[in-house]
Subunit: 573 residues, 2 copies
């Protein structure tokens, strides 16, 4: 450490909001080098390499073959697949000196498909799993939280190619199991959640979420069954509505009720339809948004949902992907839309409704006239939505869509991996066919499997730290043992000699031999750096005694210097 | 190999001109993925990783600390250093979604300087050597020769920081020695050549050139001493000119003599100045070029050199770096420049002359009038150049600038590394000062040291191949041994069992177990792939005999199967 590029910080950096970002900066593992771009310093690079190695080993164990593609790719294949347009502002694009267009690839489906088309010809060449650990780029609008959401990051992306759906399912399961082993080795407590709505097959796409309060993803579990899903993928159960006689649609003067709360108050005050038990759940809220479809014109869209629910923008955008959404505000250009009093009756724009707005349900909603609402507006009778949409927030206590009996619980997590049965989307686009065993052409089917490598490092830091610093799981720590020379001269020599012995035994050792620092500063730094096994060569050196500390348990014990190699090998083994 | 992504090609790919490119493509090590961008296939990735590992080991051995910077960097630091403008079209630049400007870094001097400024404060933090093995980008106008000149490539760049010039010199020597070890281990026959003109100190910058006929660099040696230099760095010895009485400048009608050859013929025919021994070396050729200075206006520049020499564009651009040069052709806009009859007398543009145009030398040159030339145009009397320039071609047989007695020889090579004493260029620009041992601020001095990692792979292929394929040096080969099952069934099983035994002994083994191919195809592929040790499990398996081949020497011998592990370990060791 006396020669290492390391400068620990006592204070939290001003711009670091989350623990992993704060501690990785303070402990000198990373340094900001660009907006959303970080340099890995010597200690950080060691951790990153450990994580990469574990991923590489487990990918090899399932037959994955490592390759490496360029990051800077020509536009053409991404035009063919449509992703150049779909990604829009989310990717970095540039022109070369001749004006030819390129992108910095966010993922490589197109290139792997073209490679397999180029390199295979027969069923004998399959199945095939290829992967790379490679730098990815994404023009994040708001890079944040250090390594958790950056613009340049390390990713492992794998692609499987099979000739049958059953083969793809097997490849998917192999990756799923390998990922569980990887994250277990990385010490990452994680949940595998469904990432796709059930309509497309529950197993077609899953995410691995590392539990973390600072996670950007929310996911649900069930109190009764093993259902787990990203909130974006939660499917709202459609209520059973018994057929019955309904009152006729009636329009009421409801001045000054632009909000759901004011409307409910008025409905109860006036006892509309003879009721005084109106709640927000009885009202139908109609939200107008502008949908930005990549490559074509913007669309004004209305979304209907029960008045007691807010729109969840992430769920809405997931439902409309790859389109993005902004709130609509140009009411002047749409005189048919009466702000605050919109109802689904006679709307001139597309209208998508929450599944709870099922046929036969009756609502209190806007009458499309200023200061007026209507009661007994019945879905299927007075209006018919153009479709359903999962745009409403998911709440703890909601019924479980899987078992129907349990209630949903909600937690936060960091997406550390995503596995996906792509199917033939890309092989269809590029018309990839190989000779089948029966002599007829067969089209390969694909899976893609990503792990955020640099994000995994941050997630580990997020799960493994305390108020004093980092606390790395053994397999990813930058060293197996940290030896601290508490004082100078003889203690430094003894610490270096001990370290040499430990290195001979195959251990990776970091020695704090910095001559100008006090023992206290070194101890504080060691706790910040977060290597579990700490050996202090200090005052009792003369007696041949060192102190062995466990950063995790806090345990300290005196050990004869000559015993330290044995003790360290035992605990490290 | 039955499951590996591998497809060897019998024919040379149409667009591959040089042997390394041809063979790496044919043997399935790389595949083109973009203009100037290549994907590393499984076998290629293994070689690339071997090369990286050797570099990493030797860099660690001299105390280098590995870090990793982003490739996508903000414009600002490169503006401060001036390199944003200097690089011009040679770098890829782009704007993010907010319009902020970025570049894909060709090298990282700025970022390392800023990192050291951020992370150090005192003389105790020095010396320091940092390195990374990282993807670089360069907008090559003409990417060619596969990995030899690409737009995206892997590079090891290292930066040393010292507090004294002596420290820098030591860091430079350490890197120089480490590079020699690296290239020896890579099996790369190389020459270290001076890369800077002697005026700036011969040792301040050197290149490592791998000998190769296809190399883009030419370099000189001396028949008498150990001088070696890139031709761009060769300094022309200035001739000693004895002071003497010279004839007066005389203008002659010389119609139809736009070329040197026609002028010499005319001079001899007419016996100008009573001589009939005129040669091209007696004439002064004046070449007009347009100099494109980055960030400022183009300049029209005239260059004078003996008529028997051509301008070497690479030497000219090296002399004018970072400017680039194109031939001047807008004579209409410069009526003072008489095409074909330009002389250095009364030129209105800047004029730089070859060192051979020394004060006191007399020349036959243009008279700045159509169809007229002048004799006895004496440097220092009739014209005075604005300076000298090394723009003339270097020829075999030229006198050695170092010893003065030997003659230059010329060879071609591939630049595989460049080491450079940068000095304080960047620490001055960013005003980096640390506390010195005497309590006063001291400014660190830098060296930078680059190795083209992917280019090294191609250079190895360039030096190690024959007409049948590649022939890897042991340390970089994708495997230590290739085991070939010549036939099917029992031979495949035996080959796989043998491979398992070899792997247990720590060897890396590639097994050709492809069931559908003939032994002949497998042998041909093995020679193309280029792993030195080949074990054939074939017809004599029943007798317990395998054939051991050496791809390099062609030697073949029968070895009892049970002896193969011992034999392989011995030769691989």
């Amino acid at each position: 450490m006396s020669t290492m590029l390391l400068r620990t910080l006592r204070e939290d950096p001003a711009d670091a909001e989350v623990p992993s970002h704060r501690l990785l900066l303070r402990a000198g593992y990373i340094r900001r080098a660009a907006p959303g771009g970080y340099a890995w310093l010597p200690l950080g690079k060691l951790v990153l390499d450990r994580v990469s190695r574990i991923i590489r080993e487990e990918m090899s164990a399932i037959g994955g073959q490592e390759v490496a593609f360029p990051a800077l790719l020509p536009r053409d294949p991404y035009d063919v697949s449509g992703r150049w347009t779909e990604y829009g502002d989310d990717i970095f694009t540039l022109k070369d000196r001749r004006g030819a267009e390129f992108l910095l690839a966010p993922t490589h489906e197109e290139m792997f498909t073209l490679l397999v088309q180029d390199m295979t010809s027969s069923y004998r060449d399959f199945p095939l799993t290829l992967f790379q650990i490679q730098t990815k780029f994404r023009d994040e609008a708001r890079p944040r939280a250090g390594l958790l959401r950056g613009r340049e990051f390390l990713m492992k992306d794998a692609y499987s190619f099979d000739l049958s759906d059953a083969g793809l399912a097997e490849a998917y399961d192999r990756h799923r199991a390998a990922y569980q082993r990887i994250f277990d080795r990385l010490g990452l407590e994680h949940t595998i959640v469904s990432a796709m709505s059930g309509a497309m097959g529950g197993s077609a796409s899953e995410e691995f979420l590392a539990s973390a309060d600072v996670g950007e993803d929310t996911f649900v579990g069930c109190t009764a069954c093993d259902y787990a899903a990203n909130t974006e993928a939660v499917v709202t159960p459609v209520p059973m509505v018994a057929a019955r006689e309904q009152a006729a649609l009636t329009v009421h003067d409801t001045p000054d009720t632009p909000t759901i709360a004011s409307l409910v108050d008025l409905a109860n005050d006036r006892a509309l339809e003879g009721r005084t038990d109106w709640t927000a759940a009885d009202t139908l809220k109609n939200v107008v948004v502008t949908v930005h479809h990549p490559g074509r014109e913007d669309e004004v869209l209305a979304i209907g949902l029960p008045g007691d629910r807010e729109v969840d923008l992430k769920r809405l955008e997931a439902a409309l992907s790859p389109a993005t959404v902004t709130m609509f505000d140009d009411f002047a250009a749409h005189p048919d839309l009466v702000k605050g009093y919109i109802g689904p009756q006679d709307l001139k724009i597309r209208y998508l409704a929450d599944p709870r707005v099922a046929t036969g349900t009756a609502w209190l909603t806007g009458a499309n006239q200023p200061g007026r609402h209507a009661t007994s507006v019945v879905a299927g009778r007075d209006f018919t939505p153009d479709g359903t949409i999962e745009a409403a927030e998911v709440r703890a206590g909601d019924p479980c869509p899987a078992c129907g009996t349990g209630q949903l619980t909600i937690r936060r997590g960091i997406e550390i991996a995503h596995i996906f049965q792509l199917g033939r989307r890309y092989t269809d686009v590029f018309k990839v066919d190989v000779l089948g065993a029966d002599g007829k052409p067969v089209r390969p089917t694909m899976g893609c499997y990503g792990i955020g490598v640099s994000r995994a490092v941050a997630s580990i830091a997020e799960q493994h730290h305390d108020e004093r610093g980092l606390l790395w799981p053994d397999e990813v720590a930058p060293a197996d043992v940290q030896v601290i020379a508490a004082g100078k001269d003889g203690q430094v020599d003894a610490a270096l000699a001990l370290a040499a012995t430990l290195v001979e035994q195959g251990l990776r050792v970091l020695v704090d031999d910095r001559p100008q620092l006090s023992a206290g500063v070194k101890f504080t730094d060691a706790e910040l750096l977060g290597i579990r096994r700490i050996v202090v060569v200090g005052r009792r050196l003369a007696e041949g005694i060192a102190e062995v500390r466990d950063r995790r348990t806090g345990e300290r014990r005196d050990v004869p210097l000559s015993d330290v190699p044995r003790v360290m090998t035992e605990v490290a083994g």
